[in-house]
Symmetry: C5
Subunit: 353 residues, 5 copies
């Protein structure tokens, strides 16, 4: 749960102070520049962030991907070069941002979450991704290495699709689209998980299952929390009248918006199902208690009168004629069988057997 | 549940790439052209989609129905001929669309779900249906053969109703209306189902019933998910100011809108009822446990003191005067009857008998 | 539940086809004309609907009440005479309409539900009522005879209140007001019902009560479904700028609106109460199970050690000194009393007695 | 519950007919006139309502308080003198109004509820209060004597605060403010009640508690129903542009609005708490059943094997060597102690002891 | 709960009367003045509030912090000096205000809650904080000493950040930001608490845990009640067009707004978790009851037939051949073992062992 509250590290500092609040420290911060237009395509690792500033006059699209946030000076240099607002720089470093878009007239800041599904412990982890789109530059800031953009990098290189013809805003669309697409993979995994648990629930509801259901529920809360604000964000992008975006791009963002609505619909359905599972689990416990009770009751009510019977003939009264009868013992067994028969019929009628 | 997430096949590809994401492959793709106006009516199967492009200059309404999406080239050819946006073509092929309408000024794209009720396994299945309305052509794309439009085809042929007098937008209305009408049939089936389950619940709540209720609940979630977005879609159609629609058509769409609201109301009521069933089921288990407990308790509390009694006179104390009494044994039976009588009165007063 | 889905009869027919979808067939269709203005008042039964068309030029208010929908020709004739839209005529005949108002510039169509409370089986039934207000005519279409308008008819005849001075729109207001007032009677009945059930629930919660509660819940769902859309309808009437309505009438509709809001508030409260009853019922079962358990436990734990004790002295060991003691038997009884005393104190402390 | 539906008495009468729908009949109807401006202050009882009409030309504020609604003629006379709308007069007499404000251009009608807490039976009762503000007159209509305005009367007399300087609209504000303030007292009482119940719930959850909780829940529903519409009403007063109100008064109404929001917040919190109590109660029953079960189980499982043991040595087999052992009886006791010891350890490990 | 209703002390007094409604009385009321601009910085304790009025003509920012509200004359003097509205002065003294902003054209009033987490009893307490921003003065009124502003005081003194360059509105932003930041610390504590309870719940759900969960739930209600209205307040600040605020400040308030949304999101998630805990707790009780039942049932059903068996051979029939068999006793033991074996297999198959 601690992950829900992450930025207490900053409490008490001045607003706009650049302090990295994430827990993850990268040894080496990777900076990769991809420069392209319709005709050219370059990709290189940068040692200094300043190296990319020299291209400001070129009309190519510059995508600068920074992996690792623990070197505050990189963000400071970018902020100085492009005259970015200190609150925005602070937001890049604060890794517990809610997805949002801030439109600062000359540049745009977008922050959202990449989600990963860890197969080993069936957990979802998240990584914050910030976009700064300024002056034909698209800066992306990741907390650590590894992302869902390999498909886009390949398309840029091989020039498949529209991606190189249409400018920097189309790149941003492509990146956000890739992130939203990756959500579907996570949903598929959760769907499989849900199906497994449901299967088990129907067949053999063990006590451990409750924890799985509960965990699933928490994953759902986490997912919902991460994705819900994205709705507003992409809706804002689709409706934006910011001068930095091409008019046609909004058509693409509308498409992404449709996908997010679909993701939210699916999560909503999963939540309904999970709460249904809890009901099923509870009623399966009740059912089992009922079964246990029945076994106990059948045995007890069958043998208790019999035990009374044998008790009678274990009494030591001097004057008990039955004891001296010749067939007394056989009559006793007949009685026993009759009592058992009556009992069984009674339970049959009650539908307990 | 896997059906909730269907399009992971496309993840990582460029937006606008034409990839068919459905699971169903048709061996032969049926293309049927129905051409009509007030006076004429033609219906023929096409071998090549290009055959219908020749009619572009005629002022008749052209309804081209494509059954099967796995031949991507058909969609490509249509897109080329009518200069359709690649994102729209992609949407036709992606069979996990949320119902929506996209208005591209010169043409309109509508996507929604046809629902079928499978009597055999009491399951609802869905098929995506895309409309493209461009230039007096109405293209409909179905995932596989079989639909709910036979009534309309017949009316077109026999010229009953307004359908042939009023243009292509009236055709679209007619098709959507037929789909919405078919929802009522599904609701009726679910209603019957619900009634059956409710009946059983009242009479003899078996353990299997819970799974039926749970299944019903999931069907409801599925239905709601499929139909709810339709509300927005038809409401948009009723309010649209798109030049491709005749002003009077909106009146008809308002009528469809009323029907959808009704469908949603009914689903809402069913959901309330299903959740009521779960409560009833749970309390019926509790009730049964209570009944089982009562039987056990009545038997135990009746016989336990008696068993104690017979135990006493089974003791071997040398000095137990009762054992030597002449009527000791008879007195013992009297005592037994008295204890049973007291117990029965006690249970009567407790209203357990 | 079947009542929730009523119009599958029409599925597959052309929109605008006149087919009566109700189940009720009237042998004779009653048509009553009431013609009035400030000075005059006529009331007569019509044999042919055409008889009332002759009065079109008179400036009196004409209220034509049609009881029974199974003669489609009547509606056709009215539609032809006043040039009414076919969709509207269809709506009159389709008895599963959601309450709504359609404003067709020259005339207005209103549809809503009259509700009746059947004392015998404690059930609510509904009847659809359509209003068509055109050209000083108010047509009302009822499914079958009997309504809640006797008060109005009397006032029209005796000219009490404003009803004859103010035109046809005031008549419509009066009729709708009468319907909404009749809802209060139904609510009162349900209130009495609720109170009875609650009383029983507190005193002696029997198993049958659950079905009563459940039925009440379903009645609530039904009521809510019937009345909720009325809110929109009357709100639309209060805000309407339709030329057919006098400006002052909206003040009256605002008053009806207040009443509907009150009805909805009351239903909401009842729903809260009913769900509270379910909780109470469930916890009363739990309570009873607990009571049964206590009785069982008190008896068992009291007699089990005693039974053990008598068992000991029923053993046949040769060497058991107690058996030969002179006061052994008396000591045994003392022990028994002491054990019972300890047990009773223990249960007292546990507050089980 | 009957109190939720009060006005069936009027059903079927003409709208605007003056019929008193309350159950309370006052023997004598008190009419009190308070006339004041900055300088003067008069207070007198009126025998006839007409007596106050003579002051229409004076520029003083006239507050006419009518206690008792069963003399319809008083309302009729006021209606005639000030030309008030019949629907409004009807509303004054109908004591089941929802709080609302109606702005009739020249005069304003406000209706709301005064709530009283009856200490004896811990019940909340309500009284309808109507305001008519017309032409420097403020008429207040109460169902019966006794109100929450003594503070205001005193301030008017002693001229404390602004109350006499600022006109009639400030008086209305003062009265509404007094009513809203009185809600806090009721909330405080309910808060005490809630705390008591919660305390008991934690310490000793008796069966009767459920009824207290349930009653509390119903009080909450009642309170919410009475106060929620007030929100709209006061919000309308704060935003009103009615010419009868001074611009500065809206600032005061904003203040009242803040208080109402606070009241609603508190009720919401109480409702959350009450539903939490129901959960706690239910789980405390479950807990108790569990405890009872444990006692039963511990006793049974401890003594059942022992009873079996004594049974063995009560058997009459001729050939049972143990019975003849010298220390057989002592060995039996040892066995008994060992079995008890093992059982106790087992229960300890299970944490049942 | 009593804390939810605090201001009944004022009920019945005139609106605008200055009465301190808090429970806390400060012996000495601390008044601290911090005066600063870009260049200078003074901080001093004031004995009389009038001392700070002399600086009205200076263009420095004056932050006057008043700790303690029980000396009403201080507020009166400020009100007189700056001509503040009496309702506003009343609001400062009424310590049960809902967070809000009132814009009185020339000055602005803001009221919100500082929250503290008391480690000792794990409770959250709140303190009301009022801001009055008038004429380059920022007055802050606290109920008692101690606040969350030490960071800001330090930054003012050492001139770190923008705080001294940007005017008084930036100071207000800084103070509100500090308060919102402090909420995260409380959330972190609650998060730890939640995690602990969850851990215990999984491992060993004791009865006391329910009270912890319930307390947590109440803390959540309290937090939600305190923070939710802040959303509106800061949103109003971010959108305000009040002349007293600099245009750029709204950018900062948007940042605070993002933080509050995050706080509300987290609280929402915690509430979901807490309600999940209640479910888990309830099902863990059910599970335990089921376990107890199983132990009882296993023991009873195993020994009851055995006890019957030993009873048989304890009977005193004269004619019982088994008793005289040579190996009768050994056969009895074999039978016993077989019965136990069958029982164990039965329980194994039922998965109870």
């Amino acid at each position: 749960m601690a992950r829900l509250v992450k930025n207490t590290k900053k409490v008490g500092t001045a607003p706009g102070s650049l302090i990295h609040t994430g827990n993850y420290k990268n040894d080496v911060i990777d900076i990769t520049l991809i420069e392209y237009n319709k005709d050219i395509y370059h990709r290189k690792k940068l040692n200094n962030i300043e190296d990319c500033f020299k291209l400001r006059n070129s009309d190519t699209v510059k995508w600068v991907n920074v992996e690792g946030l623990n070197d505050v000076s990189i963000i400071e240099k970018i902020g100085k070069e492009f005259k970015l607002h200190p609150l925005m720089l602070e937001d890049i470093l604060n890794t517990s941002q809610r997805p949002k878009m801030d439109d600062y007239d000359d540049y745009i800041y977008i922050v959202l979450k990449m989600l990963y599904y860890n197969e080993k412990n069936n957990e979802i982890s998240s990584e914050q991704l910030s976009f700064v789109y300024v002056d034909n530059y698209v800066f992306t800031f990741q907390e650590f290495g590894g992302d869902v953009f390999d498909g886009i990098r390949e398309r840029l290189e091989t020039a498949k699709g529209n991606v190189r013809k249409l400018g920097a805003d189309y790149l941003i669309y492509g990146l956000i689209d890739a992130i939203v697409d990756s959500y579907f993979i996570i949903l598929e995994k959760i769907g499989d998980n849900t199906e497994d648990i449901e299967q088990e629930l129907m067949e053999d509801p063990k006590k451990e299952l409750l924890q799985s259901i509960y965990k699933l529920k928490r994953e759902m809360i986490f997912l919902n929390n991460s994705i819900w604000p994205l709705r507003e964000l992409v809706s804002a992008l689709a409706r934006t009248e910011s001068s930095v975006f091409d008019k046609n791009t909004s058509l693409y963002f509308r498409d992404v918006y449709d996908h997010i609505i679909q993701v939210i619909d699916i999560i909503e359905s999963y939540r309904d199902m999970v709460s249904g599972m809890l009901d099923t689990y509870l009623s399966s416990i009740s059912n089992r208690t009922n079964d246990v009770m029945k076994v106990l009751t059948i045995f007890s009510t069958m043998f208790i009168p019999l035990t009374f019977l044998v008790g009678i003939y274990g009494m030591n009264f001097e004057n008990m004629p039955e004891l001296k009868w010749r067939y007394g013992y056989i009559v006793f067994w007949l009685l026993t069988v009759i009592i058992i028969y009556i009992m069984l019929r009674y339970f049959k009628r009650k539908k307990w057997l």
